[in-house]
């Protein structure tokens, strides 16, 4: 699973113009996505599947929000944060979102240095990304505890209105939080691999027995950006609607 | 060779079965001829395809078997042929779909003049509700449902007051008039189907669904619940009687409005004591029951159950069957109670009697009975206490020998065979589950073991 010797048929023969050429190239032998390593292709398809999971979650959330007979709590109040006596709506969320988005930035840098096989920088940025991710999860934990202990919101009900509010909020943010946490763990693992130089020496993985390469950094990146993207939607649907 | 023959035989056999077998749609009783037409169009198209494609295949199998042909013909594809086939198929599809969509359009828009009534599905029976003079159904909500207000009608809604509540399995509708049935469920998914009417729709809690049709001929029809709704799904049956306007009105008049139901005065025990003297002769002064006289224990039995049974005896929907020896002795006794108040009074008195567990006479293996009782528990409650919601009487601590005979009666249609007995037929269906006397005894033994 290393970079291709040549991109094969694609260049070997002149392509027919237009759509025909595209189809012909796509359906040509060996690889439908030229130059795309297996791990990356797999991650793409996994994320596609994961997209369907989150869409199902969000669609269900919208449906119950519409179907429920009880009025929906007002998010800007529920998620308000009290700073020095003043209620600032959505403050915490704003920070959380900012943190996560910026983690995407650091991830980009990590991937970038990964390409250049710059061990130290890659390591640093991977770790930084992991740290930001961890911060996000931490703040989410804080928000959960706030909702649960101070505002008495439970999955099965809450003082402000529709029970589905707590239910879908905990379920969806929880599911997303799990994604982030898993991401953090793998980021750290990859970071260590990078620093140890496993990826330069192509040291076989501990369990899979596959040669390590810098592709995994990029694959990791795909996952991470996806998790961020999903958060943007969750943010929009829960906090702004 | 063999293959070709078998294929032909199967095709021909299928056709013969279709034309000769006695089993097919029951004669239609509603205005949905358009549905039947779509069915027959679909039959023609698909039947044609079925015969042609399969016979052609049979012929190929026969004609091109090894030995008959030297070599296979080499032909990667034939765009033209494929194109034609796709075109033909599309025509076939269109031929089925078009009338289908038109029929559906009719199916979902209800004529303005359709008379509205409501069908309520609950585990595991149907109830019905007609609007009163105001012609409007009162609003309802699951939250209002109580033993006294089983339909969950909003007590503050004036429209609800005059609604006519029909807590039986039998529904009457006038012939030749379009009816719109608003379907509602109070617990799980149900469904209301009368095969001869063709129309069918599910009921879902928190939702009002509907269907409509115009009954075209008078008669008595089965209504089924065709959406799985739990253990007694198969025993959830109603009856729809289509009759002329006059007898329909007469039937409807026989049922109380919501207001009347609420206003019903509680029974007066002291007044009841007098009339109970008659009962005491067999059932015992304490209502403890008397095996010698085959009179079951009454004390501690649910009042609504006693009331329904007394009414059944009076109406002759119980105790009329010749094989029901003891029921027939009870029937005339029930006649001695002139009216509802009398019944309420005597029941009120029975309520005052001490509830001492009946002596246990039946021997059986309680452990084996447990499995089967799981099913009974669905209606009678996990420890046989009886549930008004499922119209299931108390079993625990009642006369066990009596339950044995009643189960037998149910199984053999001696009891519950009469559809005017609202919930008897359901129990009759369930009782069939007890395949032999041994398992019956085991179940009773388990009931006896309930604390």
């Amino acid at each position: 699973m290393t970079q291709p010797a040549s991109s094969g048929t694609a260049e070997a023969l002149p392509l027919a113009p237009g759509i025909e050429g595209v189809v012909a190239d796509w359906s040509s032998d060996q690889r439908a996505f030229k130059k795309v390593p297996w791990g990356k292709a797999m991650m793409w398809i996994f994320l596609l599947s994961d997209t369907f999971i989150f869409s199902s979650f969000l669609i269900s959330y919208m449906t119950v929000r519409i179907s429920t007979t009880v009025p929906w709590p007002n998010p800007s109040e529920v998620f308000g944060l009290n700073v020095g006596g003043v209620e600032v709506p959505l403050l915490l969320i704003a920070i959380m979102t900012f943190v996560l988005i910026s983690s995407s930035g650091t991830m980009v840098l990590a991937v970038n240095y990964g390409y250049r096989k710059d061990k130290v920088k890659t390591f640093i940025y991977l770790l930084l990304t992991a740290a930001l991710g961890a911060t996000f999860v931490g703040m989410q934990a804080f928000e959960w505890s706030k909702l649960i202990f101070h505002e008495g919101i439970r999955p099965w009900g809450n003082p402000m209105g529709a029970a589905q509010f707590g239910a879908s909020f905990f379920m969806i943010t929880g599911f997303h939080g799990t994604h982030v946490s898993i991401g953090v763990i793998f980021l750290i693992i990859v970071a260590i691999k990078v620093l140890r130089g496993d990826l330069d020496t192509m040291k076989p993985g501990f369990m899979t027995g596959r040669k390590g390469t810098y592709e995994i950094v990029e694959t990791m990146g795909l996952y991470w950006h996806f998790v961020d993207l999903v958060w943007v939607f969750i943010f929009a649907f829960f906090y702004l609607w | 060779m063999a293959m070709a023959v078998v294929l032909v035989v199967l095709v021909v056999g299928s056709l013969l079965f279709h034309y000769l077998s006695p089993w097919y749609f029951l004669p239609i009783a509603s205005n949905w001829g358009s549905i039947d037409d779509t069915v027959s169009i679909t039959f023609w198209v698909t039947g044609f395809v079925f015969v042609v494609v399969n016979l052609f295949m049979a012929w190929c199998v026969l004609r091109y078997r090894t030995g008959k042909t030297k070599a296979a013909h080499y032909e990667p594809e034939n765009k033209k042929l494929e194109g034609w086939l796709v075109l033909l198929t599309s025509v076939g599809v269109a031929a089925m779909l078009t009338p289908g969509l038109f029929a559906w359009a009719k199916f979902i828009d209800v004529p303005k003049d359709a008379a509205v009534l409501e069908v309520i599905g609950r585990q595991w029976n149907f109830n019905y509700r007609f609007p009163g003079e105001d012609g409007v159904l009162g609003t309802v909500d699951a939250r209002f449902i109580t033993e006294k207000n089983p339909f969950g009608i909003n007590p503050d809604d004036p429209h609800g007051k005059d609604d006519i509540l029909i807590a039986t399995q039998e529904l009457h509708i006038p012939v030749g008039k379009p009816v719109k049935m608003e379907l509602r469920s109070i617990d799980v998914l149900h469904d209301f189907t009368v095969p001869q009417m063709r129309a069918k729709m599910n009921m879902a809690p928190g939702l009002v669904t509907y269907l409509w049709y115009t009954p075209m001929r008078t008669g008595k029809f089965d209504a089924f619940c065709e959406q799985l709704c739990g253990i007694a799904h198969y025993a959830m049956r109603g009856t729809v009687v289509v009759e002329d306007e006059a007898s329909f009105q007469k039937w409807k008049a026989g049922f109380p409005t919501f207001a009347q139901m609420q206003a019903e005065p509680p029974g007066d025990a002291t007044a009841g004591a007098a009339s109970y003297a008659v009962c005491a002769a067999c059932h015992g002064a304490q209502g403890e029951g008397n095996p010698a006289l085959n009179a079951p224990k009454l004390a501690g039995q649910q009042d609504w159950y006693l009331k329904r049974q007394l009414n059944n005896f009076k109406a002759g929907s119980r105790g009329a069957n010749d094989k029901d020896t003891y029921g027939k002795t009870m029937a005339p006794m029930a006649q001695t109670l002139p009216d509802e108040t009398a019944i309420n009074n005597v029941i009120a008195y029975i309520k005052t009697l001490p509830d001492t567990p009946a002596v246990q006479t039946v021997k059986g293996n309680a452990k084996d009975g447990h499995g089967a009782y799981e099913n009974c528990a669905a209606c009678h409650g996990a420890n046989g206490q009886g549930l008004w919601a499922t119209n299931a009487p108390r079993l625990k601590g009642m006369s066990d020998w009596y339950m044995v005979t009643q189960l037998k009666n149910f199984k053999h249609g001696i009891r519950g065979g009469d559809r005017r007995d609202s919930y008897g037929p359901q129990m009759a269906n369930i009782a069939l589950m007890l395949d032999n006397d041994r398992i019956t005894a085991d179940v009773i033994a388990y009931i006896n073991s309930l604390k």
């Binding site: 290393t2 199902s56 | 089993w23 198969y234 099913n375 499922t390 269906n429 589950m433």
Partner: protein
């Protein structure tokens, strides 16, 4: 695309991908238990699936006994009956067919047929099986928990599924949901492998339009699964929450046995939408691999290229795409907005067109062929017949007003058994007879095979064709017993008895099949590398059964599509995909490259 797939080509592109280094186990355990070899994993999948399949088969027998002779078997009560129905349906659809077609045949055939050494991620592939096994064990465990397995029907509709009017509403349903969740996780691991292997790990010269249809079918089915299972996964989670935490996703305010429950404002219809958004693609997930496999079986045994290969591929893609926009045809009578009916009826019937094309092309492949009536071929022809029948009854149900009287009756049961329980199962058998030699190196016994076929084929038709007519009469499904009704004539009970007898016979003859599997493993005549004289790569492996790595030292190079049978002028009546050109020339064969001329 003007370049035609059946042209062979001189051109051999350079190697794009280095071969993956395979993990070579040292110990026996490593080889056969914790194996990373797709072929071993495939066998593990297949055996497990067939085992649960047998459980479900026994359950179906019990159900038939009840329906044939109600009130004679006191261990079958209304609640146990519902539990049998539910487990039967769920096991058959998910744990048998899905696992067998994708986990079993997919694992074995994809790498061999596309000319790969193994799946792209063997380790993940291995985990996939063990998660599946765990899911199976959870499922079987639900028979033994208090209250027993769930009896909510394989559709698991709430509220009923989690209220105690339904058997197994306490523990059974939870185990079922958790088991499904694990199945999905395990499947996803495998599924990613299958898709990436097909897309990115084909050997040199193996263009997409040269793939055998078997691969196309399994490939498309896997994609459907990867996109459909999420909906089920999500609904499982939400129902578990409704059950354990008392959330109200699917639960409106309702009264259970006179008790007001805490639920409020949920939507039961939402579950049905989610379930069928998964459920309908699911039925094609078990159908598409059958379509693909049967195409190859017919082509090989008719010694003729599959008719209209390219159209067959497009049809598979079209069916796959359409299957995501027809789900609500299961909900015509659910009480959803009735206007959906127009849309979904139309899309549903449109599916008939690509499917029809496939049927035609199967028959046209027989046409002017040279048909060998091997056992696999018999099963293939049986499939075409039963599938036409079952598909056509599907059109009854798809046409919305016709569905109204039929929905919820035995007609539906008859439809989906004809189209799912008979057709693909026939293909499963055909495929086992076809590839058994490659897996074991021995042929399955022919006489036993023929016996097995004839009884299964005719028997199953005898079970389900008459069943439709019970449905026409209005006999409801999931009914423990009919009891006394005004509608059903006594004769209908006789019909039920007949059906039961047929079912028992068919079930019994499966023993012959199982015996054959075992017997032939030791005594079957050696098959040699390519007993069916087939062109596809799995038959060209240096050793049979293929060793880990499949193709010996060097990977094969593909010069032509998979269907060069009876090519005029060719010395032999089949040309393996990896045979270099030039040995012969003939009409319809140009030396044009992969590119449009």
């Amino acid at each position: 695309m003007t370049y035609v797939t059946h042209d062979e080509t001189e051109f051999v592109p350079p190697m794009e991908v280095d071969e993956p280094e395979l993990y070579h186990p040292k110990t026996w355990i490593g080889k056969y238990v914790w194996s990373q070899d797709a072929k071993v994993i495939a066998v593990q999948y297949a055996l497990t699936a067939m085992f649960v399949g047998l459980v479900a088969l026994v359950l179906s027998g019990i159900m038939r006994l009840q329906l044939g002779w109600p009130h004679t078997f006191s261990f079958i009560t209304p609640s146990t009956y519902l539990q049998y129905v539910t487990m039967h349906g769920m096991i058959m659809v998910i744990y048998l067919l899905t696992a067998l077609f994708l986990g079993g045949f997919g694992n074995y055939l994809i790498p061999l047929m596309v000319g790969a050494r193994d799946m792209v991620f063997p380790y993940v592939n291995m985990i996939s099986y063990w998660v599946y096994l765990f899911a199976v064990l959870l499922l079987l465990a639900s028979f033994f928990v208090p209250g027993g397995a769930t009896g909510s029907g394989w559709t698991l509709y709430p509220p009923q599924a989690i209220l105690d009017g339904t058997p197994g509403a306490s523990w059974g349903i939870i185990l079922m949901l958790v088991s499904l969740a694990f199945f999905i996780i395990g499947f996803t691991m495998g599924g990613l492998n299958y898709v990436v292997t097909v897309l990115q790990a084909r050997t040199r010269g193996m263009t997409l339009m040269r793939l055998p249809l078997t691969v196309w079918g399994i490939f498309m089915a896997t994609i459907l699964a990867l996109l459909a299972f999420p909906a089920l996964f999500v609904s499982c989670i939400m129902m578990i929450l409704d059950h354990t935490l008392g959330t109200s996703f699917f639960m409106p305010a309702l009264v259970d046995k006179g008790q007001q429950l805490g639920y409020n404002g949920g939507s039961p219809i939402l579950f049905q939408h989610l379930f069928w958004f998964f459920g309908h693609p699911e039925v094609y997930i078990v159908a598409l691999p059958a379509f693909g496999i049967v195409s190859d079986l017919i082509s090989i045994n008719a010694r003729k290229n599959i008719f209209g290969y390219r159209m067959m591929v497009w049809a598979i893609l079209a069916i796959g795409g359409l299957s995501f926009i027809v789900w609500a045809h299961h909900m015509y009578v659910s009480g959803m907005n009735p206007y959906f009916g127009f849309f979904f009826a139309t899309t549903t019937l449109i599916i008939a067109v690509p499917t029809a094309l496939k049927v035609y092309n199967w028959v046209l492949t027989l046409w002017r062929g040279k048909i060998h009536f091997t056992v696999p071929m018999l099963f293939a022809i049986g499939f075409v017949f039963t599938f036409i029948n079952g598909g056509l009854t599907g059109l009854f149900l798809g046409n919305v007003p016709v569905d109204i009287p039929l929905s919820g009756t035995m007609f539906v049961v008859a439809h989906f058994h004809m189209v799912m329980a008979v057709s693909p199962i026939l293909v499963v058998f055909g495929a086992i007879y076809h590839w058994y030699p490659k897996i074991t190196g021995r042929m399955l016994n022919d006489r036993m095979g023929k016996l097995h076929f004839w009884i299964t084929f005719i028997g199953t038709y005898a079970i389900y064709y008459p069943m439709h007519y019970l449905g026409f009469m209005g006999v409801p499904r999931r009914y423990y017993a009919l009891g006394d009704t005004l509608i059903i004539p006594q004769s209908a009970h006789a019909l039920n008895e007949a059906i039961t007898i047929a079912a028992l016979v068919v079930a019994a003859v499966q023993i012959v099949f199982l015996y054959n599997l075992v017997w032939s493993y030791f005594n079957g005549e050696p098959s040699g590398p390519n007993p069916w004289r087939a062109t596809t790569l799995e038959w060209q492996t240096p050793d049979t059964p293929p060793k880990h790595g499949n193709f010996g030292p060097t990977l094969p190079i593909v010069y032509r599509w998979a269907y060069d049978y009876s090519v005029p002028g060719a010395p032999d009546d089949f040309i393996p995909q990896n045979q270099p050109p030039g040995k012969k020339a003939g009409p319809g064969v140009s030396a044009a490259g992969l590119r449009p001329a």
